[in-house]
């Protein structure tokens, strides 16, 4: 067993090269705590559905799924407007409109958190990295030359207190978009604890079974 340890370590080396690659681009992102409480999710949903869905679609999310993050039917009815409750948060007009306005179609937001290294942290950092250049033009330090406008007006806000409020909004938006990218994450983790508990106990039992079986061989 001990003789094989180096090879196990080599294997870990292979695994860690993979990890290195994943970690490097996100190192410049803000180290922000994203808590998936119902309140944050709801505030984030309200923000995204009012500020972002004018230009971005959320093709894979349906209005009825909003019921799962704590909205009641009344609130969802208000958010969905004229749309069917089973319809995806998707508008075909956006594609044409944005194409003529910006020259490209903004990315769909349903999976955006998973599609970027750093997940929600990337979104938070992007939204709070707008700044004003000396000539008055606005740019983004995470994504220089970005064509998305500064929706939070972060670059023109200088007061610390006001910026705190905006950062709070960016955080909620990031939390909501992490949820849309992986809506079953909470169920998955909850189930994971039971599965791990079961497997650890079961593996211990198998170890005792193995030991008992092999003890018959002693002295033979």
């Amino acid at each position: 067993m001990r003789a094989m340890l180096p090879s196990l370590m080599a294997l870990l080396c292979v695994m860690s090269t993979y990890d290195l690659r994943a970690a490097s681009p996100s190192s410049s992102l803000a180290d922000v705590e994203l808590s998936h409480e119902s309140e944050n999710l709801k505030r984030g949903a309200q923000f995204v559905l009012s500020m972002c869905t004018g230009c971005h679609n959320l093709t894979y999310v349906k209005y009825r799924e909003l019921l799962r993050i704590g909205f009641n039917h009344q609130e969802v009815a208000e958010l969905k407007g004229d749309n069917d409750i089973n319809a995806p948060i998707f508008s075909p007009d956006i594609v044409e409109m944005t194409k003529s306005l910006f020259g490209l179609v903004p990315p769909d937001l349903s999976l955006i958190a998973k599609a970027r290294e750093g997940k929600g942290r990337y979104i938070y950092t992007l939204l709070t990295s707008y700044h004003q250049n000396e000539d008055g033009s606005v740019d983004n330090s995470v994504f220089p030359g970005i064509r998305m406008p500064d929706v939070l007006s972060y670059s023109s806000t200088t007061d610390d207190q006001d910026r705190k409020v905006l950062e709070e909004q960016a955080r909620d938006a990031a939390v909501f978009l992490e949820w849309t990218a992986d809506p079953h994450a909470n169920d998955r983790r909850t189930m994971g604890y039971y599965v791990m508990g079961y497997l650890i106990v079961f593996t211990f039992l198998l170890w005792f079974l193995k030991r008992r079986t092999w003890s018959q061989l002693e002295g033979k």
Binding site: V14, A115, G192
Partner: protein
Amino acid sequence: MARLVISWIDRRFPLTKFIKHELTEYPTPRNLNYWWNFGFLAGFVLVLQIISGVFLAMHYKPDALLAFASIEHIMREVNYGWLLRYLHSTGASAFFVVIFIHMARTLYYGTYRAPRELMWWTGQVLLVLLMATAFMGYLLPWGQMSYWGAQVITNLFGATPMIGDEVVVWLRGDFVVGDATINRFFVLHFLFPFLICGMVLIHLVALHYVRSSNPSGFNLDAKDNIPFHPYFTTKDLFGLGVFLVIFCFFVFFYPEFFIESENNIPADPLNTPAHIVPEWYFLPFYAILRAIPDMLGGVVAMVLSILIFTAMPYLDRSKIPGGSRYRPAYRILFYVFVVNVAVLAYVGAQPPTDAMTLLGRIATFIYFGVFLLLPFLSKHEEKWLLERGLSREVLDLIEGEESHERRRKATARREETKR
């Protein structure tokens, strides 16, 4: 009642005989360590992949326009669809982890040597089939990395002399990776696992004919063999428990660890990602491909890097049985090889800068150098070990092997005279 049923079956099918011969009386060396668990684990992962894959196929649509959305349908709307998909995507990586360890075990203990060459070669065929299956399966989510990975790898077949372009079009069914490609990759991704099952059967028949090797590399005396059941069934099950704890940790808590984030963007034939990387299990071979400046040369080197394992039984010329246990020089070579593969994997993941290309070339040179050095090293090592005198332990093992051999011959003679 049960006994009646079994005896009814036994008159028509050798059920009891089979269980006795392959399980309850199947002699297995008692000194097998936990590195001998990984063949069983590979079999388990194969079954897991087939079962989760069949259920995924019930909801998946192999169509360039629908594939990406059908995966999201599985992830969001199918009951426990996310579990099926994460089991399958994590299972692919687990399969390679298990297979690479299984191969490393074989190399470390030299168990590819006579009479187990056919086991090693059927294992090689299994590795190639597994790689093909994994590669085709990776296209199916139709994300950016899926698409461009398939584009790059199918492009490599363009290096075929004379008919390169035709071969590429023939493989893709189109001039670029497209609807025709995803459809055929789906069909083949569904078919190949059953070919793998057939090959596994041959692998197992060969195993039960030549029997398990063991860490010493010598054939053990009969008294050191124990029945597979219950000793190794319990040992394998415990190993499975440990494996499942690690596996489920990734499935439930870090399921995206093995999924490139770029693959959450639908395939876009007009937009090439800045940095195309294959899945982690292809990285060492990808690094070898990139190390050679010429495309045809690169493809040949990459194919050779896998096929060269076939020659191992002939490259190892030492008369001292087994691998690293009693052969220090061989052991050093093994570790050089493993570390070098890790370096290649690292290089394969990096953008091709000058320094990386140089490192990749050195590592590629060492990769093949290890194989070419082995025939000379094994001969010199043998001479050196014999001059130094073998240890008591090895002499005992040789004696055990000889008595084993004598008894085997005696039984064979008895059988002969009986006939």
